[in-house]
Amino acid sequence: MKRIYMDHAATSPLDAEVLKAMEPFFSEKFGNSSSLHSFGKEAKGGLDWAREKVAEAINAKPKEIIFTSGGTESDNLALKGIAYAYRSKGNHIITTKIEHHAVLHTCEFLEKNGFDVTYLGVDKYGFVDLDELRNAITDKTILVSVMHANNEIGTIEPVEEIGKICRENGVKFHTDAVQTAGKVPIDVEKMNIDALSISGHKIYGPKGVGVLYLREGTSLEPQTLGGGHEFGKRSGTENIAGIVGLGKAMELAVKRMARESVRLALLQDKLSDKIQERVDGVKLNGHPEKRLPGNANFSFDFIEGEGLIMHLDMEGIAASTGSACSTKSLEPSHVLTAIGLSHVQAHGSLRISLGKDNTEEDVDYLVGVLPPIIKKLREMSPLNKDNVKEFENFGDSEHKH
């Protein structure tokens, strides 16, 4: 059977060119970059090369690039590292209700350890309100963390304006750019960003490698201690092959960005239009334009997402419902409830995230197989437009299993 992967926001396949760049570092230039000998120097060469590539891609300096084990570690390191480094200045952090769990759970950890965290709400499109942000800043605020684009609904936040507000108030600004790096232009100077998280596996790079950009002069308490790698900010023998892979993936992504983002946005538009044409009781979540190219997030009335995903999987289509990570909890996506969806609507969500190998035909195929699946699930569902109202009020956050 034909298999069509449409879950690129969860992860992506390694690009053949990226693998080629990594290959010499598996068993030829395999040294430990700390070693004095030639094997060590070769490894160091790869490390330096990748650092430059990543720096170039976001208009940073090589020494501002810290390699980590992924987006989750980058988020943890940024938040804990900056919070503890500036603890004497204040204990207030501002973030949003729609961040990835790597940010949210780290904030909850910090709350348990003497920090106050303000979680900004978002409007129906998922946008943070800039005035609300301004009002939330106090003289104890040390850090603002707002994601560049949301991984579920794809909404792109006004980070440049947020950066400006932070700069004006002398507050550090971190942004989780795991979904945008290599897909949407990033300029840490123009955007006034002090810290930024990137993950390799979202851009056809390897899993298990990420980046924390940290502006020169920004203090950070290291979280992983040892041999003093990465300018003393993140210890552990460097995953050179993975780091080179990330460097190559960033280079390719930036090179392809202009064309690919237009192509994906058009594909996504077509997809959204056709689905809304052929299925009723469907809603596109997130903002219609200011969204990640290729991301489409729908809510289908009266049905639940897992069954939908499994039926699509049986037709060869890989997609997701809510966040990929949320399969460990029965709670519906915190992002979808934050934009005002009831729990019933949130459970009926489908996220399609298109990528480099997806074509018009793939979209046509999806648009063909989806309506009968929705129809079948609705036939099976006790919910309908006459009774759904009585169940929608369950969307209060107090209700727990």
Binding site: V344, M380, S381, P382, F391, F394, H399
Partner: protein
């Protein structure tokens, strides 16, 4: 995550849809938690004159486990006496579901509650008659 049997029942569920002339409907679950299940029953009598579930269908809003256990349990209890069906064991149902992950246990046994709720409604209706 799910075994073959669960996937098979999810793919081709038995007994789904409304039962037009149902004697009672058991409504269980909570869409906030991602599942809502209606079990429709029709009650008849066996040769001994005992009340039995002569027909049963379901309508389920929920995950793969919720749909599969609706199908599996309705298959299972069809023809059972109300007395027996009332005591249907969640453990047995879980066994039939063949190793669902811990987080899915709740929705993998919901149909048992559904059958009980339907029988309860049937008895109450009868009492009022």
């Amino acid at each position: 995550m799910y075994g073959d049997k669960v996937m098979e029942h999810f793919r081709n569920p038995h007994n789904f849809g409304e039962l037009k002339d149902a004697d009672a409907v058991g409504k269980v679950g909570n869409p906030t938690c991602g599942d809502l299940m209606w079990i429709y029953i029709k009650v008849g009598k066996n040769e001994k004159g005992e009340e039995i579930i002569s027909d049963i269908t379901f309508k389920t809003f929920g995950c793969v486990a919720a749909i599969a256990n609706s199908s599996i349990l309705t298959d299972m209890v069809k023809g059972w006496t109300l007395e027996k069906a009332e005591k249907v064991s969640k453990e047995d149902l879980l066994k039939e579901m063949d190793g669902v992950p811990p987080i899915k246990i709740h929705c993998s046994i919901l149909a048992a509650d559904g059958v009980k709720a339907a029988i309860k409604e049937y008895r109450e209706k009868k009492r009022k008659e």
